[in-house]
Assembly symmetry: C2
Homo-oligomer: 342 residues x 2
């Protein structure tokens, strides 16, 4: 009998517990990637595989409460975070099922906005909504999306392939979503309107890196990939644990936007705190042998994808995970965003 | 701008609205059965298909609040209702993803029970849990299950194949789950302990009819199938709408258990009210040409499945849906269990 509460043991321990309780049951004959990656992968047809993943977003946890956020953003983000998991396996999103938990007093107009947000992203990525269900709840509105993506079996990119000596790269910018959340909370004032808009958009309408993920997977150059949802510091740990390696990140190389730098300066915050620990970036974290890093950057540049920045190096597991700053090298504390210890 | 609330327009209108908003987007090249059946079906490998479905269960809506229900029942039922949707397509469950929304103060021991309930059914049906996610919520605990099942393409049974003249059959008994809910609510006293146990078990641990669904699909005799979740009166309407037919149900033939009859008698309730409108039976509703009905019953009998009872006949759409009672024939009102108008 365990008398602790969910809050006391935390999100990752709960997932681990679920995996330990259930992991050994069932028949895995058609499974390419099982429990523990960004998504699972099962066999489809003609060498193709289906990627399956789910992620639930709750008002007041993953976005502001209903009065403080548009229905559009709720729908958009709920689908986007799942699209990002498919992108992290090198896949293309295809089909979605949507479960909605709805407080009785929710205006139908708000729900239409939610559907509008889902539709906008569905149109962008040609995703077919195959079904769903709605239920009332006495709690906050939630949107749970199950997403099916496709990928060729030989292109699937796991978290577990990184090797010592590999370079670590990341798409786009880090920390904008966290700075956007800070702005939305009202604790941020004085940021120029266009910068405020770009930061809050990163928080409310994250852009999954589907084209980038496909190009990276098809290049055959990457050894591992995942998407950054818990923050770089947390997700590099997930990658290192899955690959049984260590890593060093170079703080001075972390790609941060001008908007983030301005917001940080106005709040007297360290922008790298947001970039390392903020979370919800939904950028792709990729590893590749040192000699391939330049080629991979060039491929992304040619197709017009988000730039890939080299931010560190994979080390043997014995060296742990560290951060190189101007004032020295420090063990990177595990400060990943945990839903139950926030 | 629609200023109505979710409660005012009701569950089915919300689902219809979602379908209308999203139905036309995306590429359906690999889709065998799209939106609107018990589950969707997409192509897999070697003529096999994957059935995909999701259904969310919320404490205080689909089962009693956390203090009044075991974690085991919560886990078991959350998976069982999805297994039932796969059974309704003639399929076999294979893989699950599970999203949990957890109030912070939830004891970990309760969650272990939830996992235990999921595990019990997973072991029974050899279901592999491929992943999942947990989130905190300020509302009631919810469990959302995404289930993947398999079926051969030519065996898929839809809701839409019923034809005038077909017989309507149902597995097992109807109404026990509703009577069980009545017992659990405390408004039922004096039922013998063994009968009470069988009724409450029907409510808390419904037995999906997987073996029966597979045998019915493989017989090639059935024209349509779905599972009864909203109550016979609601689900015969769903079948008739999908097949563009009418129906007559014969009240005297509805299969009801001795436990249900005793509970109804003690409460001065009409047992057929529960059988028609109670919902959550998770029995299979099947149609077959009149000349095949006996053969289908015999096949189920031979494999030791739940008995199939003939309860009515499919009519042309123009004749609507009616109920034959000892005192006449009545239009069957649509009193399906709606989550938002309960």
């Amino acid at each position: 009998m365990n008398s602790e509460s969910a809050k006391e043991i935390g999100e990752f321990a709960l997932i681990e517990r679920l995996r330990n309780n259930l992991g050994s049951v069932g028949n895995d004959a058609d499974v390419i990637v099982g429990n523990g990656d960004d998504a699972a992968v099962i066999k489809a047809v003609d060498g193709k595989c289906w990627i399956v993943t789910c992620d639930v977003q709750v008002c007041g946890v993953h976005f502001p409460s209903m009065g403080d956020v548009s229905g559009f953003a709720v729908g958009y983000k709920s689908l986007a975070v799942n699209v990002s998991d498919v992108a992290a396996m090198g896949g293309r999103p295809r089909f979605a099922l949507i479960s909605l938990g709805i407080p009785e007093e929710t205006p139908v107009s708000f729900l239409d906005e939610v559907y509008g947000g889902v539709r906008a992203l569905s149109e962008e990525y040609d995703i077919l909504v195959l079904g769903g269900n709605v239920t009332r709840t006495s709690g906050p509105l939630f949107v749970d999306v199950f997403l099916v993506g496709e990928v060729m079996a030989e292109k699937v990119l796991r978290r577990s392939g990184a090797r010592a000596g590999d370079r670590i790269l990341v798409t786009g910018h880090l920390g904008d979503a966290a700075a956007g959340l800070h702005s939305l909370s009202g604790s941020q004032t004085g940021v120029r309107e266009d910068l405020y808009a770009s930061l809050t958009r990163a928080q409310l309408e994250p852009q999954p890196r589907v084209a980038e993920g496909i190009v990276i997977a098809e290049s055959g150059l990457a050894t591992a990939m995942l998407d950054i949802s818990d923050g770089l510091a947390g997700d590099i740990r997930h990658l290192c644990e899955a690959s049984d390696v260590g890593a060093i990140l170079w703080e001075s190389e972390l790609p941060v936007s001008d908007a983030l730098l301005e917001a940080a300066s106005l709040s007297a915050k360290n922008p790298f705190e947001w970039a390392l620990h903020g979370g919800e970036d939904y950028e792709l974290l990729v590893t590749t042998p040192a000699e391939s890093a330049g080629a991979l950057q060039e491929i992304l540049r040619r197709v017009g994808g988000e730039p890939l920045t080299i931010i560190g190096e994979i080390l043997p597991a014995s060296q742990g995970i560290s951060l190189k700053r101007t004032d020295g090298i420090f063990a990177l504390e595990n400060l990943a965003w945990e839903h139950f210890s926030a």
